[in-house]
């Protein structure tokens, strides 16, 4: 019970801070928008081709944008020595991890909600498969990125080149999740097949890495 309470208060604090500053949100939004624009220079697709490639484009934009936010999420705590305070407090370390992950999940999902219509406009998209499946892919896919991202961002704060380290750790581990997100999105957009396999893979990935993250977070928090 107290784990949930600590997680909830961490989440509330992060949301309030973000609501007041909107730092991470604005940075992510602008960054993802830039990626979308730069991609449009590399291809000039018609609607048919766009459906095939936009799954990849959108997820790359979200992946890069979320690394920007994830790097920030622990940097703030380092400045205020919050991590040291947390270490000496009796609260469980993984409640902090859970709260942070949910916070980041909400931020990235909000960005996606803003950007998805922009992608639709830029690339003239229309889904052929059932659209509700896209919602499922986005929720599961974003959690996969964020749960590992929050963990590895905490790990990266312990290294010499903090900001550089996060993508180096996060991207290789996230490859199966990315593959699943991109393929599921493309399948729903083109309506060619059933995304069942990819959605269940994402669900398995989410469960496995949420467990591993919760188990190992204390080790990272108390590594010094």
């Amino acid at each position: 019970m107290s784990t949930m309470r600590t997680a909830a208060s961490t989440l509330k604090k992060d949301l309030r801070l973000e609501w007041r500053s909107k730092d991470a949100f604005n940075a992510m939004l602008f960054f993802a928008l830039l990626v979308a624009v730069i991609f449009s220079f590399s291809f000039d697709p018609n609607a048919e081709e766009a459906r095939r490639i936009v799954g990849g484009l959108a997820w790359i934009a979200f992946l890069f944008a979320s690394t920007v936010a994830l790097n920030q999420s622990w940097a703030r705590e380092l400045h205020g020595q919050v991590l040291d305070a947390f270490r000496v407090s009796p609260a469980a370390g993984n409640s902090l991890f859970l709260g942070k992950s949910i916070g980041n999940f909400i931020f990235v999902l909000a960005i996606e909600a803003v950007l998805a219509p922009i992608f639709v406009v830029f690339y003239d998209l229309r889904t052929i498969g059932p659209t509700w499946q896209l919602g499922l892919v986005f929720v599961l896919g974003t959690w996969a990125l964020v749960v590992n991202g929050t963990f590895f961002a905490a790990l990266s704060t312990r290294t010499r080149n903090r900001e550089l380290m996060l993508p180096l750790l996060l991207f290789p581990i996230s490859i199966p999740a990315l593959l699943a997100m991109v393929n599921a999105t493309t399948i729903v957009l083109t309506g060619e097949d059933s995304p069942r396999f990819w959605i269940s893979l994402l669900a398995v990935y989410d469960i496995v890495f949420t467990m591993v993250g919760l188990l190992l977070f204390d080790t990272v928090l108390n590594a010094e």
């Binding site: 590992n148 963990f151 790990l155 312990r158 290294t159 010499r160 080149n161 380290m165 180096l168 750790l169 290789p172 581990i173 490859i175 199966p176 593959l179 699943a180 393929n183 396999f197 893979l201 398995v204 990935y205 496995v208 890495f209 591993v212 190992l216 080790t219 990272v220 590594a223 010094e224």
Partner: protein
């Protein structure tokens, strides 16, 4: 160097020479691929040794987190480094074999891609060890990442297998239609033994080096405090 180590090194040398003789002279020439197929006796054993190394790395990481025993960490570093070297050998010999046989250097097929991603994961593990700020925390962070990485490998394999497949299905234990000439299997097993012995030799030396480094660090720290 201890006599036991030198003795073992000599033994490995003999095994490797025997393996070379087996692969080049004894093994029958493959019908369609010809002599090129002999790279098989290096490609496959290297892959097995690298998987073995990563598996030991995973076990050693759990052992370290459970016991905080520095020996476990030394094993984890050594096996990860040697595993990456053998995995690199696989990734180099693969294209060398693929070009004449498939006509292409590389294809994004299931096994090639998953081996490549596994290689990337363990490179990131070595990078983390290198960039970690303090010696006391490195083993813990590395062990956590090692567990993430090892858990990821089967998921990577599953996902990419669903994506596409071109690599031949496993020749050994891969169903009825696949089969290996018993003489070829014999040579393969000799070479696996030789490469495993060689891998162990390098891991052993690297382990000693790491233990030495750890002890030196402790000395520095106590001297610094005094």
């Amino acid at each position: 160097m201890k006599p036991l180590f030198i003795l073992y090194a000599l033994f490995t040398l003999v095994l490797l020479s025997w393996g070379l003789h087996q692969a080049l002279d004894v093994a029958p020439t493959e019908q369609t691929m010809g002599d090129i197929q002999r790279i098989f006796y290096y490609h496959v054993p290297s892959a097995w040794v690298s998987f073995l190394c990563f598996f030991v790395n995973f076990l050693a990481s759990i052992w370290y987190l459970a016991s905080k025993n520095m020996r476990a960490d030394a094993i984890a570093v050594s096996t990860a480094e040697v595993g990456v070297v053998f995995c690199s050998i696989v990734l180099v010999t693969g294209p060398l074999w693929a070009k004449p046989v498939w006509g292409i250097w590389w294809t994004w097929d299931a096994r090639l891609t998953s081996t490549f991603i596994m290689w990337l994961i363990y490179i990131s593990y070595l990078l983390l060890r290198r960039f970690s700020t303090a010696d006391e925390q490195t083993p813990k962070l590395a062990a956590a990442l090692a567990i993430f990485g090892f858990v990821d490998v089967p998921i990577v394999y599953m996902s990419i297998r669903w994506w596409r497949t071109q690599h031949p299905s496993p020749v050994i234990g891969g169903g009825e239609s696949s089969g290996l000439d018993p003489r070829m299997l014999h040579v393969l097993l000799w070479n696996f033994l030789a490469f495993a012995a060689y891998g162990l030799l390098v891991v052993w030396r690297r382990y000693q080096l790491e233990r030495g480094r750890q002890q030196l660090n402790i000395l520095y720290r106590t001297q610094g405090a005094a």
